[in-house]
């Protein structure tokens, strides 16, 4: 079926129905042209990263072609944990509420050793944030809502059954050869963004590599649908060496539709073909849930993983985002979440450059900013993996020592690492930041994602992040100086006038005094802050944040 004819209800249907959605091939007029069609932006891959990028660009008024060699949503639940920051980005893209409504919200994690709880942690221990630390949501639902949103935007042209077979990269663009059920055609793209996943075909076609460490261990994912009410609460439960799966780790997570994700460490010697047979999975699940548990196996997968990244994410006009650029182990939910942050970092920069508001140097800053973030994600996921699956006898010795001590001692619980869960990287050292000249006591340094806070506007509740503009925002505590109105590409948000900080949480989180000013980027990262700035200081910070200075 022509995807634009799919009724809205189909995107809000059951998991099985959503996974059965089939996006038909539609011939593009580009295929009838004698010469390659020209397009400003082509995105390869209609997954969470490619779709988020396309929606962001289209909302900014850009035209985007999305090419996908497939015609289906994600098979299986795959990336189930979507972090607070991803939800905030999706709020801006118009799909956050739908994700939260369907997803299972959670903040609490528990860690067990054998059959004993070692400790619990709250990932969002304070009030006054619109979004929870995480929702769990099957990837196919997330993709369904993103596709539905993308189809509403006339600027997006998603072409399923379009497989890119060759990429000729030039300094000013890339020529793509594309296979379709009706033969081949070509597109000449000013910018090409490869969001085509860990096995990125684009990366291979350009002879580029993603390098790093492979971990010699195998894991089994079993998604089981429980009959009746489950006894497990909506929390992340992690076991080291549980009695029902000795000497290995197990992770349990709740998903919508009464589906539970169980992740069993199997060890390197496990035979993946044997382990993914239902007759071998079911006894493992019963050992955890009890012999009488009534459940159906919804999806299963045996996987290995690696921590790796490309040396550079920007190659002339070809840009890599998401798993194509960097791969992490699943402990910490840093895969899809970091990919969506890549998309957000890139979207406004491409938009500004294509509008002629900034030079291509702005897009080049995507590289170092997101390579830095990828290093942080890789560092965290590698450390968690080394703790969960020690690679040497001595590593195992210290891991067990930490677990042993964690029963009684708070300090050792801090060492226990079952995954440091995704938070957005603070882009320290970004060339777009203007270093502080005034003193602040706050985590909101230049490079940090602005923290949310509850506000009211004309008596109605709202949130700080929702009140930011789509370009830059000058957040001013108190009345803004007259010159602030004339700043190019910046909305002025006066706290106490346009919006009311009724719980004083915005002022507290930003360590704000009267006349304090924060300059916030289109991707909601702080790029400068002052106690009482001059017009020249703000203009200079704006120029710097758009790579114009």
């Amino acid at each position: 079926m022509n995807p634009r004819d799919i009724p809205a209800e189909a995107f809000h249907a059951s998991g099985a129905e959503v996974q059965a959605l089939d996006f038909g091939y539609v011939r593009s007029p580009d295929q009838d042209r004698a010469t390659p069609a020209q397009h400003p932006i082509v995105v390869i891959g209609a997954g969470p990263v490619g779709l988020s990028l396309a929606i962001d660009l289209a909302q900014r008024g850009q035209r985007v072609v999305v090419l996908d060699n497939d015609h289906k949503l994600s098979i299986g639940s795959r990336a189930i944990c979507f972090a607070k920051r991803t939800l905030e980005i999706w709020d801006r893209l118009g799909v956050g509420q739908r994700m939260v409504d369907k997803g299972v919200s959670w903040n609490l994690g528990k860690v067990f050793l054998k059959d004993e709880q070692l400790y619990e942690f709250n990932l969002l221990p304070e009030e006054g944030h619109e979004r929870p630390a995480f929702i769990n949501l099957q990837q196919y639902y997330a993709e369904a809502y993103l596709v539905e949103r993308a189809l509403q935007l006339p600027g997006i042209d998603i072409r399923w059954h379009n497989k890119v077979t060759a990429v000729e990269s030039r300094a000013d663009g890339a020529l793509l050869s594309i296979d379709t059920p009706e033969g081949a055609y070509q597109i000449d793209a000013q910018w090409l963004v490869a969001c085509d996943g860990a096995r990125s075909h684009t990366r291979q076609m350009l002879g580029l590599e993603s390098k790093g460490r492979i971990f010699q261990d195998r894991f089994l994912i079993a998604d089981v649908k429980l009959a009746g009410d489950a006894d497990f609460p909506t929390e992340r439960w992690f076991w080291f060496d549980p009695p029902f799966h000795p000497n290995q780790s197990v992770l349990l997570h709740r998903q919508p539709d009464n589906v539970w994700r169980i992740d069993f460490q199997l060890g390197w010697d496990a035979d993946p073909e044997e382990e993914k047979k239902p007759e071998n999975i079911i006894p493992r699940v019963k050992a955890l849930l009890g012999a009488d548990a009534q459940f159906e196996l919804d999806w299963a997968s045996v996987y290995t993983f690696a921590c790796l990244r490309m040396d550079q994410f920007v190659h002339d006009r070809v840009i890599f985002a998401g798993d194509s650029a960097h791969g992490v182990s699943p402990f910490g939910a840093r895969g899809a979440n970091s990919g969506v942050q890549d998309a957000e970092n890139l979207a406004w920069k491409l938009d500004w450059v294509l509008q002629g508001r900034a030079s291509p140097a702005l897009v080049s800053t995507y590289g170092p900013e997101r390579e830095y973030a990828a290093d942080e994600n890789l560092c965290n996921s590698t450390r968690a993996t080394d703790f969960i699956t020690p690679k040497s006898e001595v590593s195992r010795l210290f891991r067990d020592a930490a677990l042993h001590l964690a029963r009684e001692h708070a300090f050792a619980r801090r060492i226990v690492n079952s995954g440091r869960l995704s938070v957005p990287a603070t882009l320290h050292q970004s060339p777009l930041n203007t270093p502080d000249t005034d003193t602040f006591v706050s985590t909101q340094v230049p490079g940090a994602v602005l923290l949310d806070a509850p506000l009211t506007k004309q008596g109605q509740p709202t949130w700080l992040l929702r009140e930011l503009g789509s370009d830059f925002t000058l957040v001013v505590f108190g009345p803004a100086p007259a010159w602030a109105r004339d700043l190019p590409g910046a909305k002025v948000l006066q706290i106490g006038i346009d919006v009311i900080d009724h719980q004083a949480l915005a002022a507290q989180r930003l360590d704000a005094l009267p006349r304090t000013v924060y300059l916030v980027r289109p991707d909601q990262h702080v790029c400068a802050r002052w106690r009482t700035p001059t017009e020249a200081a703000v203009r200079s910070a704006l120029a710097r944040a758009t790579a114009a200075a």
């Binding site: 098979i75 299986g76 860990a198 096995r199 590599e209 993603s210 390098k211 790093g212 460490r213 492979i214 993946p272 993914k276 047979k277 239902p278 999975i281 999806w299 299963a300 997968s301 045996v302 996987y303 290995t304 993983f305 690696a306 921590c307 790796l308 990244r309 791969g327 290093d375 890789l378 560092c379 590698t382 010795l397 210290f398 067990d400 020592a401 930490a402 042993h404 001590l405 001692h409 300090f411 050792a412 060492i415």
Partner: protein, 85 residues
Amino acid sequence: MLNTAPHLQACDDFYEALIAAHQGLTTPESHAMNARLVLLLANHIGDQATLQHALQLARGGAAPTADRRASQAVTPVVPTHAVAA
């Protein structure tokens, strides 16, 4: 910096207690106990630079530092995600 000047209140007493604490343990049990001891003492010290210095001295030279990019191995690899039938 780690204090390597004599600092133990009663060094013979400590040494005797250290050996006595291992009495009756198998070698693997002793290794496990030593690992716990390292973590307990490290937490007491707390300061990262001091601990780094101790690791260097214990290793008898420059200890390999953790690579921030964790990319000592440069084998290009791709994770496999085999889906059940």
